[in-house]
């Protein structure tokens, strides 16, 4: 396609990469935290719950700043990573981390709801039939969670695609490195005559977001049919 310049293409490609990895990185912890919040009773459960949801209600810039303080090369974790030769501040990996943190509450909420919708009596039935706890989880709980996991992944992806505040604070707006789609739109709007490029990227955003929603709808329907909830 001729109508996007190389710089714009770079932003689109980077955003897709960042959103994909943010979704993947958040997935396993998301399932674990959602399961713990839905099914386990432990002290400090409310604290975990608040921490998980904090990025949803905090100003994104604040989240980004906290990430910078923690994961920046001067930060406690960032410093340790640097000694191992890993730097994520001002890199695309940092953008992915920021997007993952911001998307995490949405992912957890969606998965948690799907777990809470599963009747524990089904899991009891599986246990009486001889299934160990791990087997019960893998053969009953997990398959019944799938629609929620999928919906959560799509939400997380869409959120990661659109993340701006935390990203620009944590990893700045470096073309080709951390200039994601929203950052690029913002950058184009800062220069005279950038409106057309910005509008083209807005169109791309709409296409990607709508595509993700339609895809999730199709897969969710197919899974719902498979797990007998249709």
């Amino acid at each position: 396609m001729e109508w996007l310049g190389p710089e714009e293409w770079a932003a689109v490609g980077l955003s897709l990469k960042v959103a994909f990895w943010a979704m993947i990185v958040a997935l396993l912890p998301g399932v674990l935290v959602a399961y713990a919040l839905a099914r386990w009773q432990f002290s400090g459960k409310q604290v975990v719950n608040v921490l998980v949801h904090l990025p949803l209600v905090l100003p994104p810039v604040a989240t980004g700043y906290l990430l910078l303080v923690t994961f920046g090369t001067q930060g406690p974790i960032g410093g340790m990573l640097q000694q191992l030769g890993i730097v994520i501040a001002f890199r695309w990996t940092g953008a992915a981390l920021a997007a993952a943190v911001m998307a995490f509450p949405l992912l957890v909420r969606s998965i948690r709801l799907s777990i809470e919708a599963i009747d524990p009596k089904l899991e009891q039935a599986a246990a009486t039939l001889g299934a160990s706890r791990v087997r019960v989880f893998l053969t009953v709980t997990l398959p019944l969670m799938l629609p929620g996991i999928l919906a959560g992944m799509v939400l997380a992806f869409a959120k990661a695609m659109g993340e701006f505040g935390a990203t620009i604070t944590f990893v700045s707006n470096i073309p080709g490195q951390t200039r994601t789609l929203p950052s690029a739109i913002y950058a184009f709007l800062q220069v005279p005559g950038g409106e057309n490029a910005a509008m083209r990227l807005v169109v791309v955003s709409i296409v990607v977001a709508a595509g993700a929603l339609i895809l999730s709808e199709v897969i969710a329907r197919r899974i719902a049919k498979r797990v007998g909830q249709a």
């Binding site: 089904l122 246990a127 039939l129 019960v136 007998g228 249709a230």
Partner: protein, 361 residues
């Protein structure tokens, strides 16, 4: 083979304190809701862990809080049929049936997959999902799934309660078959006297968390002082054999030589059945009645008369066919001079015995 259960646990609404030991066969835990039946069966299943308990099945200690033994549910070798069928919605019928089958390879198979499908008549349903089944079909699949888990003990918690009458009539015979053909011990929870009468080898009657009666079904149900579900539900159980099918749609039974006429039964001649005769369907007469439409007139002797708080009394009559209970008014009992040792006739209309009151044994 025996099941031995001791449980003590305080709940918010009641205190459970039971201890019983029952032989092989089908044991019915019987009582109204809130009597603690489900707490007992769930403790046997290992789904709940009472504070103080000892559960031994077939000599194997499944749980003993004194010595700290607690076998988790998945290692107990059970087949649990729940009130709601609890089929896995994401698996088709075949996969539901086979769910527990592969998990217990060390145990002997009770029945083969083909046998289960055949007995329960679910061959046409194998590819369907639970959402596409009727209530009765779901419960049949649930029974099959429990059987195929190679159980040492079948647990059933009010498996018919969620079904309508025709579906109950459809499922009940399968439990009779389990009891008679597979010689599997079964612990069966219900609040229905009809199910007790048809199924129970042994009855463990519970009331308010305590055990009210333990004994053979015929004994417990023929006890006139035992009215856990109110006097309207009282009725003795007679054991009989199918003697002859008559052309006019009646089946003649022989209860220890005494003929009983009932509406046609599906069982072959020689088949052993148990018949529950509701006490309020029995009329007593001190003289041999004549010109009466009722076909069953059984001679016997009054064993006891128990007056209730209201106008009624329950008279137990020992006959050659077995004990019969009759619920009559105190006025009639006085007018007829019924008291211990008086001979009388128990009159039972054939049509008053409903099909669901007749089971095999």
């Amino acid at each position: 083979m025996s099941i031995s259960v001791q449980i003590k646990q305080d709940f918010e609404s009641f205190n459970l304190d039971v201890a019983f030991e029952v032989p092989a066969g089908l044991t019915v835990l019987f009582g109204s809701s809130g009597s603690g039946k489900t707490s007992v069966i769930n403790a046997v299943a290992g789904l709940s862990k009472p504070k103080q308990s000892r559960i031994v099945v077939n000599g194997e200690v499944l749980g003993d809080t004194t010595s700290g033994v607690w076998v988790p549910p998945h290692k107990r070798g059970l087949g649990y049929v729940f009130q709601e069928e609890r089929l896995f919605p994401h698996l088709n019928v075949r996969k539901n049936l086979l769910y527990g089958n592969g998990l217990a390879r060390e145990r002997r198979e009770v029945v083969s997959f083909d046998q289960v499908v055949d007995i329960l008549g679910i061959g046409a349903l194998l590819q369907r999902r639970p959402a596409e089944l009727s209530g009765g079909e779901k419960q049949r699949v649930a029974i099959g799934r429990a059987l195929l888990a190679r159980p040492k003990l079948i647990l059933a918690d009010e498996p018919l309660a969620a079904l309508d009458e025709p579906r109950k009539a459809e499922i009940l015979p399968y439990f009779e078959q389990l009891r008679d053909e597979f010689s599997l011990p079964i612990l069966y929870v219900t609040h229905s006297i009809a199910e007790v009468a048809r199924l129970a080898t042994t009855v463990v009657a519970m009331q308010g968390g305590k055990i009210a009666r333990v004994g053979a079904a015929t004994e417990v149900l023929s006890d006139p002082s035992f009215t856990p579900m109110g006097v309207r539900a009282v009725g003795a159980v007679l054991e009989a054999t199918v003697a002859q099918h008559h052309d006019d749609g009646l089946t003649e039974l022989s209860a220890n030589g005494v003929p009983l006429m009932l509406p046609q039964l599906p069982h072959a001649v020689g088949h052993k059945v148990r018949v529950r005769v509701a006490a309020q369907d029995v009329i007593l007469s001190t003289e041999g009645p004549k010109g009466l439409s009722a076909l069953n007139i059984i001679e016997g002797t009054v064993q006891s008369v128990r007056a209730g708080e209201g106008p009624g009394a329950i008279v137990s009559v020992d006959t050659k066919a077995g004990r019969v209970l009759a619920r009559i008014t105190r006025r009639s009992a006085a007018a007829l001079g019924l008291s211990e040792g008086v001979s009388c006739y128990a009159v039972v209309k054939s049509v008053s015995v409903a099909p669901q009151d007749i089971g095999t044994r």
